[in-house]
């Protein structure tokens, strides 16, 4: 017997550099784009230049004769095999779900919609040949604006549906029995504030453009795709094309970012799948950045009418929300559900006695929207946190004091909210106190007063955001109640190899998050094996046959629990084998630091590796014991998890130019117990950056004819590190009680929290000038115009007096 050094249960909580980073950063790995197969053809896709048109004529034959071209086809040519894209989340019984052909057949409904395809021996030839395709469009009227789309005489995106409304979804606390009636609250309130906020449309802007390779070999079809959801993709390919599920293998190799933008079943995946079957050869499609900006789904795009009623002391008495959510021209995999996730978050961390939420999904001639980092929760958090600052200003209260008067105190958990969720844990007081201390809140308020008094052209603003979110998606039972098409469980398998090394198979599908590292840390502690001895396998439906993939900050909260449970099963299976090897009774053994020791006789021990080898040889197994240590676990959470935190932002606003500069930014997040602080830090930094981007920089803009004006990174201004401040981060740890690791999830927290913190700071800087809102993104020109408008208004009002 060899005695090896085992971990001491201290991997979880340790700053581990990420195992996967060397290959990801150098690019020396398998991205979908790198894959080359014998005889592989390259696809190029012709996309509609029209936002709405009938396709009256297509002739692909001129392209077929060009050098290198093997095939060219249009929607009609593959109409019988391409299948239709499905929406997995029709949120109401009568949600309008229009037909969604991957390659348009008769009509196009947004610019960038695929209309024809060329397959060639190389990508350049395919691209060149697109120009030879002849296609005639009969223009149809376009509708871009949601409110216009809902008027009786609006042009229809889908004329067969007779409406541009996809659905209206309502939650009312009086009807649900979770609270009172908003109308009563508003009638009795001392203060009623109503505001309209706009969530501009955003582009997820993942680093690796989407790409897909399909290889039909025999009757097995393998698809590699730069996707977040290989398991859901396999299922949808089977269900929507009629190909038997067991004949499809989907692989997400290393994937370069997603942010929800690759939580999608895409037309391009279906087109490539159809092309491979039509040609019976491997085919590859890699989108250009321009195509990605134009046709990969967008995020946000809501109009939010929100009303808060309160007593004179700031106590909230009611909240009502009316949303218009832009679906785009079609429904993607979870398009209608994204704003509904927000329904549970408008009440945020506050004790709200009455709540009403109504959301209408609207079709327009735009690229479809769907999940983007936070998905529904950033939108909700923005609106309520903006309005809390407005209420504080209205009542002349400090915005933090107003929040204190309304939030759920730490001794009130578990707390069932007016939206019907039960928050399991939290300590908003602790996070806020810590943030204020890191921020030096009082000193900044003093400086703000001085600058106001001296009329400094550079004004200082302080923005507050106290957020929570629901993540760890999700309890299957609740998803079912919300009419989501799948469950929210997750799966993990642990395979003990004969040499004591460990292979872990996860059903989550990392695309930059660092699961290989975090999962290894968990396994190292659970099984007492070295961190380096764990290999984490993911993203291939042949090795990981079961899983629901990665989104909604679910991987650690749900998949991590499955992993802990699987590890426990391995230990349970090894115990009788160790007892047999030690010639003792299993009840005499304890398992610590990777060793089974006989209680009271510490020198007698067997490692898991010993047991693994014993199982491999099976020469000496106890009677009736199955010779394996391998174990699977599937975990379905009882509840969401609820990270929370307090973000404080100080902005300097140049009143002469309108430029906003973030002076300091403090984020205190409570994401429960932390597996790897370095990974959490990275998630928080990136999350804040994306939230700041919405507040100050990014917006996808269409013109009235439906052309995307922000089709490149020249016009769609993603900030770089040079535009962002140093982030000061802190943590409080309130472990999630329902989770064996106490982890809550961190993927979206920074994005959810930061947008309102920044805009609140911008408005706070300008409040003495009479500014009460600046539309996002708060570009220098918008800020400057807001100042001009407030000055004009004050001049006019002065004149009236």
């Amino acid at each position: 017997m060899t005695v090896t050094e085992h971990g001491s249960g201290t991997e979880v909580g340790r700053d581990r550099r990420r195992k996967e980073d060397a290959r990801l950063i150098t690019g020396r790995t398998m991205w979908t784009e790198n894959i080359t197969l014998p005889g592989m053809l390259h696809l190029a896709i012709l996309r509609s230049p029209m936002a709405h048109a009938r396709i009256s004529h297509v002739d692909v034959s001129p392209a077929r004769h060009l050098p290198g071209v093997i095939d060219a086809f249009c929607g009609r040519d593959i109409a019988d095999i391409q299948g239709a894209l499905a929406c997995a989340w029709p949120v109401t019984e009568d949600t309008v779900v229009p037909d969604y052909p991957p390659l348009a057949v008769d009509e196009v409904r947004h610019t960038g919609e695929p209309v024809a395809v060329v397959a060639a021996r190389d990508r350049a030839s395919a691209q060149d040949a697109l120009e030879a395709i002849e296609i005639d469009y009969e223009p149809l009227p376009v509708v871009m604006d949601m409110e216009a789309a809902l008027t009786a005489d609006s042009p229809l995106v889908h004329s067969a549906q007779g409406t541009n409304k996809s659905y209206t979804w309502i939650f009312d606390s009086a009807e649900a029995g979770t609270g009172g009636a908003v109308a009563d609250a508003e009638a009795e309130a001392e203060v009623v504030l109503s505001r309209r906020y706009r969530q501009q449309r955003l582009v997820p802007a993942f680093m690796e453009p989407r790409s897909v390779v399909v290889d039909p070999t025999g009757d097995q079809i393998t698809m590699w795709s730069a996707t977040q959801i290989p398991h859901i993709l396999r299922l949808m390919l089977a269900m929507c094309t009629g190909t038997p599920e067991h004949k499809i293998r989907v692989i997400a190799p290393d994937v370069g970012g997603g942010f929800g933008g690759k939580l999608q079943i895409t037309p391009e995946e279906f087109i490539t799948f159809a092309a491979a079957r039509r040609l019976n050869r491997p085919v590859k499609y890699v989108e250009s950045r321009s195509e990605s900006m134009l046709s990969a789904h967008h995020g946000r795009d809501q109009i939010q009418d929100i009303t808060l009623s309160a007593r004179g002391d700031g106590t909230i008495t009611g909240l009502s929300v009316k949303l218009l959510a832009n679906m785009g021209a079609y429904l993607g995999i979870v398009t209608p559900g994204v704003p509904i996730l927000g329904a549970f978050m408008f009440n945020a961390i506050y004790k709200v006695p009455a709540y009403r939420f109504e959301c209408t999904g609207v079709f327009t001639n735009t690229t479809k929207t769907d999940a983007y980092r936070g998905a529904g929760r950033p939108e909700a958090t923005y609106a309520i946190e903006r309005l809390m600052d407005e209420l504080a200003a209205e009542l002349d209260l400090d915005p933090i004091e107003l929040r204190r008067r309304n939030w759920i105190n730490h001794d009130e958990f578990p707390y069932t909210t007016v939206a019907g969720l039960t928050y399991d844990s939290g300590n908003y007081e602790a996070a806020t106190d810590h943030a204020m201390q890191l921020f030096d809140y009082d000193a900044l308020r003093r400086e703000q007063a001085e600058r106001r008094a001296s009329g400094d052209p550079i004004q200082l603003g302080i923005g507050v955001s106290t957020y929570t979110e629901m993540c760890g998606l999700a309890p299957s039972r609740i998803l079912g109640q919300l009419r989501y098409g799948a469950g929210g469980w997750e799966s993990a398998s642990v395979r003990m190899l004969p040499t004591g090394k460990v292979e872990v198979v996860t059903g989550t599908s990392p695309h930059g998050q660092g699961h290989e590292t975090a999962w290894s840390q968990i396994v190292a502690d659970q099984l007492g094996v070295p961190f380096e001895d764990v290999e984490v396998l993911h993203g291939d439906t042949r090795t990981s046959h079961k899983g629901l993939d990665t989104y909604g900050s679910r991987s650690l909260a749900v998949g991590g629990t499955a992993l802990v449970n699987a590890c426990q099963k391995v230990v349970d299976k090894a115990k009788p084998i160790a007892a047999h090897l030690l010639e003792c009774d299993p009840s005499d053994l304890e398992f610590t630091d990777g060793q089974f020791r006989v209680k009271g006789s510490p020198s007698s021990a067997k490692t898991l590796a010993d047991c693994a080898l014993a199982v491999f040889t099976s020469h000496e197994m106890p009677d009736g014991v199955e010779p394996t240590l391998d174990a699977d676990a599937t975990y379905d959470p009882d509840n969401f998890s609820f990270p929370h935190g307090t973000h404080l932002c100080a902005t300097e606003v140049d009143t002469e130019t309108g430029r906003v500069t973030i002076r300091s930014y403090v984020a205190v997040d409570d994401v429960g117990r932390v597996v790897n602080p370095l990974i959490v830090e990275g998630q928080v930094h990136g999350g804040i950056a994306q939230g700041v981007a919405q507040a100050l920089y990014e917006e996808a803009v269409y013109d009235a004819d439906g052309n995307l004006m922000t089709g490149t990174f020249v016009d769609y201004t993603v900030p770089s590190p040079a535009d962002l401040p140093d982030f000061v981060t802190g943590r409080t740890e309130t472990p999630a009680p329902g989770h064996p690791l106490g982890a809550k999830g961190v993927g979206e927290a920074g994005t959810i929290a930061s947008t309102p913190a920044v805009v609140n700071a911008v408005v706070d800087a300008l409040r003495p000038a009479g500014v009460t809102d600046v539309a996002m993104p708060c570009t220098p020109e918008r800020v400057w115009q807001a100042i001009q408008a407030a000055q004009q208004k004050s001049a006019t009002e002065g004149g009236d007096r």
Binding site: D128, Y697, S720, P780, W784
Partner: protein
């Protein structure tokens, strides 16, 4: 995206490049650092028949002192220029402005001459060259000629060079006893300027003896702010003078309205940024 097919030639001398341009006809295009041209090719906004790559032409990256001027080879990269001692000493305005061009990767590939010949009014260097009264040395089939900055920039992406000509070098007058500053305003750090102001101010005993101000992105070419320059000639070097002069910055300009900024906002920015640029250049 992938560019349309094109021929490619890499001459080793200026004469060879001129010849290649002549042979290529109207659809031939010069490739310098490629930081503007390659994106246009990839988006298929441009589809030249032949690219004449100047990367193999010897001596075109040199920067030297000819007594009155610093002569910058057209193929000197932005990084070459901003780190060059002659430039830092005699034309610090160029070094400062060049450091704001795009990002580090672009500055190591993009060229001084390419940026000027591209004549994008949103580019930083045309305005700077204009403020410095630079002279452009152009080679063509009939030899070389010198073009002044005021004549070089003709229209949006258009210079006084003929299709069969190429930019060889730029002659920058040495400014001794001047203060200079480039004030740039953009949406994100690596973006083009919404508006930029290149200012050079000469002071003597509390008086501004001469000022030159050129504006980036306030028209289809870089624009000299003549109203500002007039107001500052032999004027007292004080706050009020600068403010009043800067208020005239947008006079006679015709900035565009686009996604990034409206014309009115650009006009407003021009006045604020001019005041700040003069402030810094004048050492006030």
């Amino acid at each position: 995206m992938i560019p349309a097919a094109f021929e490619y030639t890499r001459p080793s001398s200026v004469d060879g490049a001129v010849q290649a341009l002549a042979e290529g006809g109207e659809d031939a295009k010069i490739l310098a650092g490629g930081q503007s041209l390659i994106p246009m090719l990839r988006l298929r906004f441009a589809a030249p028949s032949v690219l004449v790559d100047l990367g193999g032409v010897g001596g075109m990256r040199d920067i030297h002192d000819d007594g009155e001027h610093i002569v910058v080879g057209a193929m000197a990269t932005h990084h070459d220029v901003m780190s060059n001692q002659l430039i830092r000493e005699h034309a610090p305005l160029i070094a400062q402005a060049t450091a704001t061009v795009a990002d580090r990767q672009v500055r190591h590939l993009g060229t001084f001459g390419g940026s000027l010949a591209h004549a994008d009014p949103a580019g930083d260097l045309p305005g700077v060259a204009s403020a410095l009264d630079a002279t452009f040395e152009v080679a063509g089939p009939s030899g070389r000629r010198m073009v002044s900055a005021s004549e070089f920039f003709v229209d949006y992406l258009t210079t006084a060079m003929e299709p069969d000509e190429l930019l060889v070098a730029v002659h920058i007058p040495k400014l001794t006893g001047w203060g200079t500053h480039y004030e740039k305003f953009n949406r994100v750090a690596q973006a083009w300027a919404l508006v930029g102001v290149a200012a050079a101010v000469r002071r003597s005993n509390g008086t501004i003896t001469e000022a030159r101000v050129a504006l980036t992105n306030m028209g289809t070419t870089p624009v000299r702010a003549h109203g500002v320059e007039e107001a500052l000639a032999d004027a007292p070097a004080d706050e009020g003078t600068l403010r009043d002069a800067a208020a005239r910055a947008a006079e006679g300009t015709s900035p565009t309205s686009d996604l990034s900024a409206s014309a009115d906002y650009r006009a407003h920015l021009a006045t604020v940024l001019t005041r700040r640029a003069l402030h810094a250049a004048g050492g006030l």
